[in-house]
Structures are given as structure tokens and as C-alpha cells.
Symmetry: C2
Subunit: 400 residues, 2 copies
């Protein structure tokens, strides 16, 4: 279940011929209610944001949206003013087909950076996409499939908060290391929907406090894309009183959204380019949550840790190196690192030999590392994956 799990949304995904592979490449999500949905987003902080990112930020100013259109195949990044025209033309074409205003349409693109979007094919594909729009789980799944690039499978998640439903999907297998900022400026694309009657302000707060930290804690190759985008839309179709920021209702909705984000984050790293194992790094005892995330990302981004995970080699020295190079402030003599629940670093000193249980934990499908810094209340969980020959092959042999 994904974006059509909450009531008030229809979705579709079709083949428009944007990808050479002939796979689905045009996705459409429509808020199926009288008024546009409340909407909030977070976008890449890359200095070269893609044209659709710039346009989505512009269209999100009013906190409302009626439709999201996503093309895969071309990222429409590094395309200058012509790329911006293509993004605007895409929004206009969607508005035309749906009978709404162009600024009610949010455009997202993913694929190769540089080439222009195949606009004619995109336009030709829109009526078919609109015709296929469905409130069924199948509509959400078709949407989740059409946004993929080097991903091998659709990644969907759902949760509930009382009567409210939350659904979402994500794409991304490489160039993943988002540094998102709310409403400022991925090629991680994540789409979240809810039928809660949340205001744009409540959604924006949930994006800033729950969605951005969750996705900024994910890394495949530590590469923040030109196109990274997360969108959260609320149809209000569940009915009831408006959910305002700072209320218990907003907190409950935030919990459900965060649960969907964590589920999607785990699915994302499991489907990362060439990945054979997931690496989960729990960090605690940091000065603050941001410092904890920095330590977790330093460990999960280290090529030496990632190759050790690929080889199933419990190598505490590499954990020590990565924690020490994170730039976070902590007392080195207070650092403890656990692998499979067994200490492999204690008081900053590497355990020799590595405990057998820790050794076995390194060969699990999900390798779980716990880093205790002992220097404060900050905590974070970071999701990464191993670095295999497969990642190199995909990225050295294919122009992605």
C-alpha cells in the first residue's frame, strides 16, 4: 500500500517512452477532492537544483497542490533555461489534462543529468496516465513503479494514526545521500500522502521535524543529488477538524509519517545499487541529534566500512577510523561500539580478538552497529548498505 492508501488520492503509472528500456516512466498522483490538497516539501541543497525542483518550490509557496507528475529517464538538471521551460510546459500540460491551474501541479524528474526531458512523449503519455488514475492499491503501485530508475523494485509503506491513514513510496538506488532542507531547495524522490485534514503549516512542521531527519539519515554513496525531493500531501478526506501545528493530533500524524519514512528508508538501502547487506548504525550519547547523525553517516558512508560489510569482515579498526573522522566532538576514551550486541570497541580500545558473536553478526543480511559516545543526549539511526563489485559495475559500465 502506498500513496493511494489514504483516501482522497488517485494514482497511475504508465509507459510514455521516456526510458530506452521501455519500462514505466510517467507517474501521476492526483488529489481527488474538491479543493487542492495541503502540501509541503523538502528539496535538495545541491547548488545545481534541477529545473523541476526550482519549479516545485515556486508552486509550493501557497501550501497547496492538486497533482504531482513524475518522469523518470531524464533528470532535467544542468539544463538551464530550456530545462525550466520544459518543467513549466509539463505542469501546464498536466493542468490541461486535469482541468486545474499549472501552479497546482508539482513536477519531479529523475534520470540522467544533462539531457532535456522528452517533452513530446511526456505530453503524449499524459491522457493515458490520467485515464489510468485509480484509488486502488494498484494505482499506488503503478505510481511507485513508474518513478524507478536503477531500482530493482517498488518501495511502498503505510501506517495509521487513529482514523488517519498515511502512505508513501520512494525511489532511489544510487546518488543517494540526501541533504534536504525543508521548502528550500534529491535523486531520491519520496511521495507521502495522508487523508488527515492537516493544514499546510502542520505538514511543513512534520516535514521539517520528522521527514527531513529521516531521509537525511539515509546513504548509499553519500552523493546529494540535483533532484532529491520529498513531498507530503494531505487530502483531508478523513474528515474532522483541521490538524494544526503543535497539537496532539499533529504529533500523532507526525509519528505515523515518521514510521512510513523509516520503512521507506530501510527499503531504499536494501534496494541500493549492488547492495547485498543493509547497515543500520544506531548512535547515542552524542552532544546532540545532529552530531549523532554525523557520526552515523561517517560510519555508513566509509568505503572501508562498506567493503568490510560486503566481505562480512568484522573490522573494528575501520569503525574506529570512521567514528574518529566524523568531526563530531566526544571523549575518545568514552567510546563503546557494539556489533551484534557484543562490544568490539570499549573505552576507545579495539577488542582483540573480535568476539565470535560479533563476527557472526557481520554476515547477517542486516548488520546492526551501535555506537555509544557517552558525551551527551544526542541520538540518531542511520541506514546504509555495503559497497560491492556490483555498485562499481553498475556505475562504471552504464551511463546513469
Amino acid at each position: 500500500m502506498s500513496v493511494t492508501f489514504p483516501r482522497g488520492f488517485r494514482a497511475a503509472g504508465v509507459v510514455a517512452g521516456l526510458k530506452e528500456s521501455g519500462r514505466p516512466d510517467l507517474a501521476l498522483l492526483v488529489a481527488d477532492v474538491d479543493a487542492p490538497a495541503a502540501a509541503a516539501g523538502a528539496f535538495t541543497t545541491n547548488a545545481f537544483p534541477a529545473a523541476p525542483v526550482t519549479l516545485a518550490i515556486e508552486h509550493l509557496r501557497g501550501g497547496r497542490a492538486r497533482a504531482v507528475v513524475v518522469n523518470s529517464g531524464q533528470a532535467n538538471a544542468g539544463t538551464g533555461a530550456p530545462g525550466m521551460q520544459d518543467a513549466r510546459a509539463t505542469a501546464a500540460a498536466v493542468a490541461d489534462v486535469l482541468g486545474c491551474q499549472p501552479d497546482e501541479v508539482l513536477v519531479c524528474s529523475t534520470g540522467v543529468i544533462g539531457p532535456r526531458v522528452r517533452l513530446d512523449r511526456l505530453r503524449d503519455g499524459l491522457p493515458g496516465a490520467a485515464g489510468a488514475l485509480s484509488t486502488d492499491p494498484g494505482g499506488g503501485e503503478a505510481f511507485a513503479r513508474a518513478i524507478l530508475t536503477t531500482d530493482t523494485r517498488a518501495k511502498q509503506a503505510s501506517a495509521s494514526a487513529g482514523a488517519w491513514r498515511v502512505g508513501g513510496c520512494v525511489k532511489g538506488a544510487g546518488m543517494i545521500g540526501p541533504r534536504l532542507a525543508p521548502a528550500e531547495l534529491g535523486t531520491m524522490l519520496a511521495f507521502l500522502t495522508t487523508d488527515a485534514p492537516a493544514t499546510p503549516e502542520a505538514l511543513a512542521a512534520i516535514v521539517a521535524e520528522r521527514v527531513v531527519p529521516a531521509f537525511n539519515s539515509v546513504t548509499v554513496d553519500a552523493c546529494p543529488s540535483t533532484n532529491d525531493t520529498v513531498l507530503l500531501l494531505a487530502s483531508g478526506a478523513a474528515g474532522g477538524d483541521a490538524v494544526l501545528p503543535g497539537t496532539p493530533g499533529a504529533a500523532a500524524l507526525g509519528e505515523a509519517v515518521a514510521a512510513v519514512c523509516e520503512d521507506l528508508a530501510r527499503q531504499l538501502v536494501a534496494d541500493a545499487e549492488g547492495a547485498s547487506r543493509v547497515l543500520v548504525v544506531h548512535v547515542e550519547g552524542a552532544e546532540d541529534d545532529e552530531a549523532a547523525r554525523a557520526v552515523g553517516l561517517a560510519v555508513a558512508s566509509s568505503p572501508l566500512v562498506k567493503t568490510a560489510v560486503a566481505g562480512g569482515d568484522p573490522n573494528p579498526g575501520r569503525f574506529l577510523q570512521a567514528v574518529g573522522a566524523s568531526g563530531a566532538a566526544f571523549d575518545p576514551a568514552g567510546v563503546r561500539v557494539l556489533l551484534g550486541g557484543e562490544a568490539v570497541i570499549e573505552r576507545g580500545i579495539v577488542a582483540e580478538p573480535v568476539p565470535e558473536k560479533a563476527e557472526r553478526a557481520m554476515s547477517e543480511p542486516e548488520v546492526v552497529l551501535r555506537v555509544e559516545l557517552g558525551s551527551g543526549p544526542g541520538a540518531a539511526t542511520v541506514f546504509g548498505c555495503d559497497l560491492t563489485e556490483g555498485y562499481v559495475e553498475i556505475n562504471a559500465r552504464y551511463h546513469t
Copy 2:
């Protein structure tokens, strides 16, 4: 020619049995003059500095040294107080064999992080190393060989400034992404010697201004080690007046030292784990040199750029992504990137299609990228390499 090219130094490298492979693993460099050599160094900023790093910083306080001893096989990092005792015992043993004070000995270690140094074997090997000390090029080469770990060859360089000679060697093939700070706290080890009569202060200035920027501009896997160390020793054996900081003499010596560093940096990335191509990134037009280096390192560290270099795939979108994610401040619309002298990004827009000459340049043994930011006087040159299946194999299959 390396550390014994300048007059006043003897060097040796022997097999002490510290490495399982049976290759040379104990290196000794001795200032062969009446007084100890003037000395300065730069060390890792990793929060877990190896025991020998901590000891070398302590012993360098007076700006003088008589000997450098290097063991390969064990890094003596993450070893706590026992590791510190081992480093001190190593210095004492060298002092005993050479007839000098322990605090005149600088200890360096490289190898696996965690295990204790095989101190008995190290001690047993010292008389043989002392007996083999030689002023010949062969002595310098033996030294340069005994410091290697996953390197495939010795890396040596030399230069002259008038009558003064400068020599050096470096080791390192993985866990390379030094963030050195002068006299504060790699497993890059670099040893530089000169026979110029430079004072410790003049050497410290050259280390800060020429040596640190040079080696901090090198990356294999962007992993700052627990053991990264650069040492510069001046025997004064060339005779003449003392070389003081800020003088034309110091500037001339600095130029020669910088030339040796750049030569060693290029050799280092060429011999990096699994590397098939060198990547040189020239950055200009940054706000300052540090911002330029940040952009160069962002490009040369990107797994997506590195795999594109491995595949010989001219992929300007990946250059754009990496420059944009560097965190440096610049006007995106002013950015130009040249590959093989041809623009592949112009005014922030990706050239489509990629010029043929640029395509060919991507398959050269040395890929040269020029990034023009157009936003200031800052410039830097960064040395990196490609990311191949070989790197993954070495680091996933072997415990290094």
C-alpha cells in the same frame, strides 16, 4: 632517490617478521650529523590518533630529532595505554641501539588497527636495521619499501633548490584522505628530508604552508586514518647560514619541498588500491584556496565520478552533482568545467552531446578535469583515482 638524496641521512629497511607476508616491515632513518636534525611534522586530526602519533607529537616539541623508526603490519591504533607503552618502548629500543635519547626518536606505525605491535620481533630486528643503515640511494629505497602495506611499489621523489637537496617517500594505497594539521595530531606516512640548514621554525612554516595543503589535496577513499603522519627533517649537512622563516631561502626550500610533495601525491594515487586511472582536478575561481580544495575533493571523492572514471564514461552530470554538493559558495550560473580542454559544463549547463575530445580524455591513464567557478581568486589541485572492482575486492576480501 628519496630520503638519502640529501646529505646527512642514512636509511635502511629490513624484514623483522611483523608482517605475515614476510616482506620488509621495519624502516629506520637516522640523521647522520653531530647534532640532531631540525624537524617538523603534521599529523592526523582523527579523534583516535594512534599511540605513535601521540608520542611523535610529544617528541617533536623541541623541533629536533635524530631518528625515525617505522613499522608496518600493525598500526598501533585503538590500543589504549598498552599501545602507548609499546610506542615508548620502541623509541627506547631505537635510542639504545643508536646511542641517543628516546625523545630524539620519532615512531611511526602502519597496518591493521587494533592489534598490538609485535614488539619482541621489532626489537630483535633493530640491530640488523642499524647495521644496514646507508647513505646510498639503496638505503632510501629500502626504507621506502619497508613502510608499505597494500601499496604495490615504493614511492620516492627528489628535488633541488640551489645547493640544497630535498628527498622524500610516501606510503599509502587505501584509507587515504588525509586531514592533517601541523604539529597537532595519517595511514598515509610521508617522510621528507633536506640537507638545508633550516631551523625548526622554518621547517614548521614549510610544513604548514606547503606540505599540509599538498597532502590534504590527495584522496583515495576520503578516509582520514588514525596514523597519517608527515615528517620533514633537515640535517643542515649542506652547510651555510641558517635558513630562517620568511626569508627568500625558506621560500626556495619550500618550493623544492612542494615539488617533492606533488610528485609523491601523484605516485600515491597512481598506486592506490585497485586504481586503474589517476584523476587530477584543477579548481580555480573559488572564494579562497580552501574552498577550491573542498570542490576538488568533492569531485575526486564522489563514488559516482570515480566509477565514471573507471568506466571511461564522460558523464558531466556527475561532475555537476559533485561540484554542487561540495558546500562551497559560488554562482552556479558561472560554472565552467573542462575535460581534456573541452567544455562539458558551460554557465552551469551540461553540454549535450559531450564533445568527442572530452570523451577521449576520459579514457587516458590520467584524467584531467578543470573546474572554473568564476567566483574568486582561490585555486587548488586535487589528486584522486578511479573506483574499481579491485578496490572492493581488496577491502572486502582482506582484513587490512
